[in-house]
Symmetry: C2
Subunit: 221 residues, 2 copies
DNA sequence: GAATGTGAAGGTTTTCACAGCA
DNA sequence: TGCTGTGAAAACCTTCACATTC
């Protein structure tokens, strides 16, 4: 059987993460009133190589002008389109402990179109209270309220011990994308996207680097 | 000039991150009273491959027993040693906004030996107040107090606009490891380790995955 | 002249597959 | 027999270098 005519290309996680980086850099450049930017300059700003920048972008099209570079506003919009952040996403956050409470007020999310519409907790003192304009819902009503509010992305900020149970319910409600802050490896069906945010990991990397005298990509052992 | 007799091996970032994952898995296994674990089982738990687990560990030594697997407690301790989390680290946190405040109470840090000893802010209402047993210091005294307290790692949780200025001071104080939560690319000298924690990035990945119907490592474009 | 877009080369990381050991 | 440890192969990612375009 022949592959369909739709082009298939492997896009690496690294490329996607760098697109996020380019997007942020371009936002800054826009504020600084730069009209165009070359791959060389952009690379320098973000400690990458010009070839890397051009290659990453080339997976998705030809956005530049030879001899000139990339139009800042235009490229920013193109990347927003690729990343899917040129639209609004309906997000729910579960767990209003330390991390959860901080995330409700995290302006970077809203700025990129990730709008927290629903909050859930199991603590009676929190349920019904108003957090940044959102009334906290009882976790007992999770499934029905997620469906009702058409939530597309769920952020998990509950203790590791209950995270799997909560996630099972979230999946049951038909949500296809989960960002997990609990330090545990969650099981989800193959059609659900799951990403983990592990804040200790980067500290452990620093610790490793210091103990081992790590020079990037090379270590004495 | 001949390379010194000390073995040099390239250890990838991915390997180090996976060591963090193994460590967490082993902590859980220890609680569950498992005495030994095979690379196969460990890989299955963390959605990796057995060969990957064995290769990662092999960079640092031979910790297993053929036919049997790895001793859970022993391997956990070995990895702690490799990552440098078999000791206590003296950490300072700068910026007591939403994120900073959440991190002060983040138990996962303490559990791994990252002890927040100092807090800094520029808000007069916060300076002098008590956060989880720590008196908040004035950012004005940053350099002297970092030195005085022998801080080894600094966590930056200030707005992006002032982050570079703060980091320059942190570097000046002789700190060699920085974990940055501000969404900006910071400049540090080559002998200072800097890691970034960008919480929007994973949401952007989810967004990308949904918009592009991304199947791991392969995307239709 | 300046900078993109891109095959090809070069490196790095992962997986394979099997010898070797408990 | 069961599972580790590891060279070798395969897959993947980054960099090079240059033809191409403005």
């Amino acid at each position: 059987m022949v592959e369909s005519s739709e082009e298939k290309k492997r896009i690496s996680e690294s490329t996607i993460h760098r697109l996020s980086i380019y997007y942020r850099a371009l936002s800054l450049l826009e504020k600084e009133k730069h009209e165009t930017i070359s791959s060389k300059e952009l690379a320098k700003r973000e400690k990458l190589t010009p070839a890397q920048v051009r290659k990453d972008l080339s997976f998705f099209g030809s956005f530049g002008t030879r001899g000139l570079g990339y139009n800042v506003v235009e490229l920013k919009q193109k990347i927003a389109g690729i990343l899917g952040i040129n639209r609004q996403w309906r997000v729910a956050l579960i767990g209003l402990g330390n991390i959860g409470s901080a995330l409700v007020s995290y302006k970077e999310f809203v700025r990129q179109g990730f709008n927290i519409m629903k909050l859930f907790d199991n603590d009676q003192r929190k349920i019904g209270s108003n957090h940044k304009g959102i009334i906290v819902s009882d976790i007992k009503n999770l499934e029905s309220e997620l469906k009702e509010a058409n939530i597309e992305i769920v952020i998990i900020a509950v203790p590791a011990t209950v995270a799997q149970y909560i996630v099972d319910n979230v999946v049951e409600a038909g949500v296809k994308a989960i960002l997990n802050f609990a330090p545990i490896n969650l099981r989800v069906p193959p059609d659900v996207y799951l990403r983990n945010e592990n804040m200790s990991m980067e500290l452990e990397y620093l610790s490793f680097a210091m103990v081992n005298n790590h020079t990037p990509k090379r270590v004495k052992i």
